[in-house]
């Protein structure tokens, strides 16, 4: 029984030797990547690799050209450095990493952990003994010291009463909708008020947001429920048109207050001055295939690929 398959997309890239993602507008079921640079040149290297939607993460099959034109089967087992399908419409949190030993009282805060996330990852912290006010909140990793620590670039914990003596984390995928609710780590009591979020916010100048500080333990309750137009942005901060110079200073609750229950300070996008009804509902989810180091080719290799849809034959 034959199975109809349709070519969804084809392309090529020059490899840098590192894993890379190829994005598609729909799910794919079959993928072939061929190394144009090494094909037929007896390189003793993988010259073609294939993926099917039935494969486990990291799995691949392929052809190894070993010399004198000899071809041999090659494969990566599940969990290897082959292909991994990515479907951002069904993202799940990654496994709990429970090896962190401390969060510093510093600006920015630094987490001591032998198992680092990567720069740019969003981590959700748990079991932050001694610093419970940051538990359950998502933070962006802005720097790492491999095997030693990682930095939460948008958290100023220098005013906290004590350092954390334990911290666990999960990497949390966050890309379904651009412009979404973000947690606030500080607001300046100034004119204009500048808000810092725990991760890159992706807001734009002209966006209208509502700021929520519903818990008195955060201090600046005067700003709770106020709408603001954004007048300037950096990756993790935005400047509002609110004069907060007379407001109570913003402060994180203490660890004990957090243990007793709190609602985090947060901001939600509610509109835009220039492009109403656009970005807060922009679903940016993608289907992608991650090419691991076994199949992506060596540095400078030119790789050709073909992606197909259609049920795989059984």
């Amino acid at each position: 029984m034959s199975t109809p398959q349709t070519l969804v997309a084809t392309g090529s890239f020059t490899s840098d030797g590192n894993a890379r993602d190829i994005r598609f507008s729909q799910p794919i079921d079959y993928f072939v990547v061929r190394n144009r640079s090494t094909w037929g040149t007896t390189p003793n290297a993988r010259v073609e690799s294939t993926w099917r939607s039935t494969y486990a993460a990291g799995q691949s099959t392929g052809i190894l050209e070993t010399g004198a034109g000899a071809l041999n089967a090659a494969a990566d087992a599940a969990g290897g450095n082959g292909f991994t399908a990515i479907d951002e419409s069904t993202l799940t949190n990654q496994a709990l990493v429970a090896t962190g030993t401390a969060i510093s009282q510093a600006n920015p805060a630094v987490v001591s952990d032998a198992n680092n996330p990567a720069v740019g990852d969003i981590v959700r912290l748990f079991n932050t003994t001694g610093m419970l006010q940051v538990g359950g909140i998502d933070f962006e990793v802005t720097a790492i010291n491999p095997g030693v620590s990682y930095t939460l670039g948008y958290l100023d914990s220098s005013g906290f009463a004590a350092a954390a003596t334990n911290v666990d984390y999960r990497i949390v995928p966050q890309s379904r909708y651009t412009e979404r609710r973000r947690y606030i780590t500080t607001i300046t009591a100034a004119n204009p008020a500048v808000v810092t979020t725990s991760v890159a916010h992706n807001y734009s100048v002209g966006d209208v947001v509502t700021i929520y500080v519903p818990d008195a333990n955060f201090g600046m309750v005067e700003i709770n429920g106020l709408q603001a137009e954004i007048t300037a942005v950096t990756a993790s901060t935005f400047t509002t048109d609110i004069d907060a110079s007379g407001f109570t200073a913003f402060a994180f609750p203490t660890s004990a207050q957090a243990a007793a229950g709190m609602t985090p300070a947060h901001v939600v996008p509610v509109g835009e001055v220039a492009t109403s009804l656009l970005s807060p509902t922009d679903n940016t989810s993608v289907f992608a295939l991650r090419l691991g180091t076994s199949v992506v080719g060596a540095n400078t290799n030119v790789m050709d690929w073909w992606a197909y849809s259609g049920e795989n034959p059984v």
């Binding site: 709990l96 959700r124 359950g136 609710r181 519903p214 429920g225 985090p264 509902t281």
Partner: protein, 254 residues
């Protein structure tokens, strides 16, 4: 596509549905006339029914995810499970209701007045509370919970409604919103969206409103007239219209 054992065996269809229901805005089913020569109408009917279900579920999930991503939040803090947020309590529900009232949000359903029936009680004017089926036991433990069966009458009551607490009426779905590993202790957070009238909307896009599309054999690249397809397509923008009128009450399990 695999050969079928029986003309009434739709397992292949279910398989395809499972595989493709994650697609947000278009789903297609393809089958061969040669295989289903005697049962095409049955297959088409089944496909149409499942596609209809798929489209509406997808629509609901897109709205759910929009609410989860952009609604303001209030944590349950009055429970005793030691987490943050805690399990849901009456004080937490009343806190959200008071906040919505202070923001001039209108109730969605009217009061159901008391009637002369044993075991029933009046139901207040209410906001809608949309949640996950795993919260059913939590709701039933909240002080003042009234089960749907205890309403004075069932006029206008939906099948997904589970009961009421104070000025909320609760609707549950197995596709409710859950923030996995979101609490202080790493437990799943259940998002209960409590909203008033016109708090959110979906806006259909011109020219690409929801459509069921059927192509008979011979359509497109099918010279032997062996293949037919059925599909749905839609494009819409779900959107909170007034963020002061809907709140995500976040809870963990007791």
């Amino acid at each position: 596509m695999k050969m079928r054992q029986s003309e009434h065996d739709y397992s292949w269809l279910r398989k395809i549905m499972k595989g493709i229901r994650r697609v947000s805005f278009a789903i297609i089913i393809l089958w061969s006339v040669g295989i289903y020569a005697e049962s095409n109408s049955l297959v088409l009917n089944e496909a149409a029914a499942r596609l209809g279900q798929s489209m509406r579920e997808t629509e609901d999930e897109l709205i759910r995810d929009m609410l989860a991503g952009t609604a303001s939040v209030i944590n349950c803090t009055n429970g005793v499970n030691g987490d943050n947020p805690t399990e849901i309590t009456r004080a937490d529900v009343d806190n959200v209701v008071a906040t919505l009232q202070n923001n001039d949000a209108d109730f969605i359903t009217n009061m159901i007045g008391g009637e002369d029936k044993f075991g029933t009680g009046p139901v207040r004017d209410a906001y809608f509370a949309l949640s996950d089926t795993n919260m059913i036991g939590q709701f039933e433990n909240v002080n003042g919970f009234i089960a749907k069966a205890q309403y004075p009458n069932q006029v206008g009551v939906l099948s997904s409604e589970w009961g009421s607490i104070g000025n909320t009426r609760i609707y549950v779905s197995s596709r409710g919103s859950v923030t996995t590993n979101g609490s202080l202790l790493g437990a799943d957070i259940y998002n209960v969206f409590i909203g008033g009238q016109e708090s959110y909307a979906k806006i259909e896009q011109n020219g690409v409103s929801a459509r069921f599309i059927y192509h008979p054999p011979g359509h497109g690249d099918d010279p032997a007239e062996l293949r037919q397809t059925a599909a749905w397509r839609m494009a819409q923008v779900p959107r909170i219209t007034n963020d002061a009128w809907i709140i995500s009450l976040r809870c963990t399990l007791a």
